[in-house]
């Protein structure tokens, strides 16, 4: 069953002081997200991701089109009891402590005070903030704010969770924690809709993705489908290889790149891999790793989106490809 249905959603913003002119932030977006899946909503900055999420949260009104969550219109307030939302770069009342913020959020959902205390403790533990429960949010680091943001988004045990850039600004450790929370939501049957431009996170988590650019849906589908996963070869990393052997290995594979005291070889066929391995073992080299090479979402992203924007003659695009 589709839990999020977006039909021809369009949003124009009117800019200019005297002469107002429209800027199309979202252009006829249609999407369906099935129950229980983790759906990645991707695209460079300004692609229309946040606009879409804000329309779904009824913070913006669409210029045209329709959005439904759990079968109800996005404007429905009753439906909000069943969903959770983490805004982009969230900021919460900094005069509250972590515990107070979650209690406040919980009471807005009508959760009973007796249940709430227990729930707040469990949640704080789940996002790794148990030690900070009595700390005012003004003393929180960015990663901690992001984690308390995730906690307030799931305090009502939602059926669908919307996360706007949940990993942005987090250090690797914080990102891993948020990633774990998202994965655990899926195991509980929660549908997760999250926008991101950090591709490795998307690759690690998502069942399906939609790629946005300039307010338009560029592609939608399972990750494997979009990447058309096929192994393009293998990368072999060796150590303790003499100069003479390195020259010999060059003939056995497609590409040899020395990096530090190691060499990275690219072998297109499995026969090449075999040849490289048997030669290097015979010559006493140390095998570090053998990895399949497939196009990453990152590469796909660069190719598709830059081509797409060339077609529409646009400004340069920024991506965050940190892993």
């Amino acid at each position: 069953m589709a839990v999020i249905e977006i039909e021809n959603l369009t949003k124009d913003f009117w800019v200019g002081f005297w002469k107002k002119r429209p800027i199309r932030a979202l252009d006829s977006l249609s999407l369906r997200v099935q129950g229980g899946e983790i759906f990645g909503f991707l695209g460079p900055n300004g692609a229309g991701k946040t606009t879409t999420l804000k329309i779904l949260m009824n913070l913006l009104r669409p210029s045209s089109g329709d959005a439904r969550i759990l079968g109800e219109p996005a404007q429905s307030v009753a439906m909000r009891k069943r969903i959770g939302y983490l805004p982009e770069n969230p900021y919460f009342y900094d005069y509250l402590t972590a515990e107070e913020l979650l209690t406040y959020a919980g009471s807005l959902f009508g959760i009973k005070r007796t249940d709430l205390d227990k729930k707040v403790s469990t949640l704080l533990e789940r996002v790794g903030l148990s030690d900070a429960r009595k700390l005012q949010l003004r003393k929180f680091s960015k990663g901690m704010v992001q984690r308390i943001g995730v906690a307030q988004a799931i305090i009502n045990d939602p059926e669908v969770v919307f996360l706007d850039e949940p990993m942005s600004g987090l250090d690797p450790l914080g990102r891993r924690e948020v990633r774990q929370v998202i994965a655990s939501l899926k195991s509980r049957g929660v549908t997760v809709f999250f926008s991101s431009h950090i591709l490795p996170d998307v690759e690690a988590l998502c069942d399906r993705v939609a790629i946005m650019n300039k307010g338009k849906l560029q592609e939608e589908g399972a990750l494997e489908e979009i990447l058309k996963v096929k192994i393009e070869g293998h990368e072999v990393i060796l150590a303790k290889v003499g100069a003479q052997d390195a020259a010999a290995l060059k003939d056995l594979c497609d590409e040899v790149t020395p990096i530090g005291d190691r060499i990275h070889l690219r072998a297109g066929t499995s026969r090449q891999v075999e040849a490289v391995l048997s030669y290097s073992i015979r010559r006493g080299a140390e095998l570090i790793s053998v990895n399949p090479i497939r196009p990453s979402l990152e590469e796909y992203f660069f190719k598709e989106v830059t081509e797409g924007s060339k077609r529409s003659d646009s400004a340069p695009i920024e991506f965050n490809t940190r892993s």
Binding site: M57, L60, P87, Y93, L96, E100, L108, G110, G149
Partner: protein, 263 residues
């Protein structure tokens, strides 16, 4: 229920927002001035204390109402705390009413504390028995009512304007509101009929804050200072006026806020 939850949080926000310093300042001014002026006005010390005390409650209350009122909604928008809030099962009118109620509670607590301060000063001065303090209540009540209206006024501007502009607008209307009767008089003196009409419309549309300060053409604070009774029926009418006007202003805030896009 949601309104009360938001109101409670707004109250907590205000309390942690250092408003209490205003009170300390107020208490200091009151005590200092009563001691100093008591020596200047032989035989009229009590009147002076009541006069200054009630005026101070009105002035500091208005300052709190304007300065917190104008940032009430704007701060939530500016810091984007409103996004996570409105994505929860919260109607926009509940948000506005909760915020308003929260600030009203803050004002009430402030006014009560200031009144206690005034009574303590009177007790320190001596000469006034317990029933004597009761005559302060109608005056304090009317001051609070005018503060409720000022807050609602600030809230309307807060839903669509920046704090600086909101403060300016609220202050202008507050000033005009105190001289509202003059608008009508001014209009009568005009020769041109359209201008007469304009002033009459302004007279009816803008809040008449002198309703809260003057009853039966006597200043409320002076009545309290000179131990003159304040007509309860008139107070009832002013209450009805205040509630109606606040209701209109709150409805206006809700309409503006409900139509907003949060970019």
């Amino acid at each position: 229920m949601t309104i009360l939850t938001i109101a409670r949080n707004t109250f907590r926000e205000n309390i942690r927002d250092k408003i209490l310093y205003n009170l300390i300042l107020f208490a200091l001014i009151m005590i200092l001035s009563s001691v100093a002026l008591g020596q200047l006005t032989l035989g009229h010390e009590e009147k002076v204390i009541v006069d200054i005390g009630l005026s101070a409650i009105s002035i500091f209350g208005t300052l709190i109402a304007i300065f917190i009122g104008i940032s009430l909604v704007y701060k939530e928008l500016e810091k984007r705390t409103v996004y996570a809030l409105l994505a929860k099962p919260v109607h926009r009118h509940e948000f506005i009413l909760g915020k308003y109620l929260g600030l009203l509670c803050t004002l009430l607590v402030n006014v009560v504390i200031m009144t206690i301060g005034l009574i303590l000063t009177l007790m320190y001065h001596g000469g006034v028995g317990f029933p004597g303090y009761l005559r302060l209540i109608p005056a304090v009540y009317l001051i609070f009512l005018s503060l409720a209206l000022t807050t609602a006024l600030a809230l309307v501007f807060s839903t669509f304007s920046t704090p600086a502009l909101s403060a300016l607008f609220t202050f202008f209307i507050w000033v005009i509101g105190h001289f509202n009767g003059d608008l009508l008089e001014f209009g009568r003196l005009m020769k041109s009929v359209p201008l007469q009409r304009l002033f009459r419309v302004l007279y009816y549309v803008l809040p008449n804050l002198s309703n809260f300060t003057t009853i039966d053409s006597r200043n409320v604070i002076e009545s309290a200072a000179y131990r003159q009774p304040i007509d309860p029926i008139a107070v009832l009418w002013v209450t009805a006026y205040g509630l109606l006007y606040c209701g209109i202003l709150l409805s206006l805030s809700i309409v503006v806020f409900s139509r907003r896009d949060f970019k």
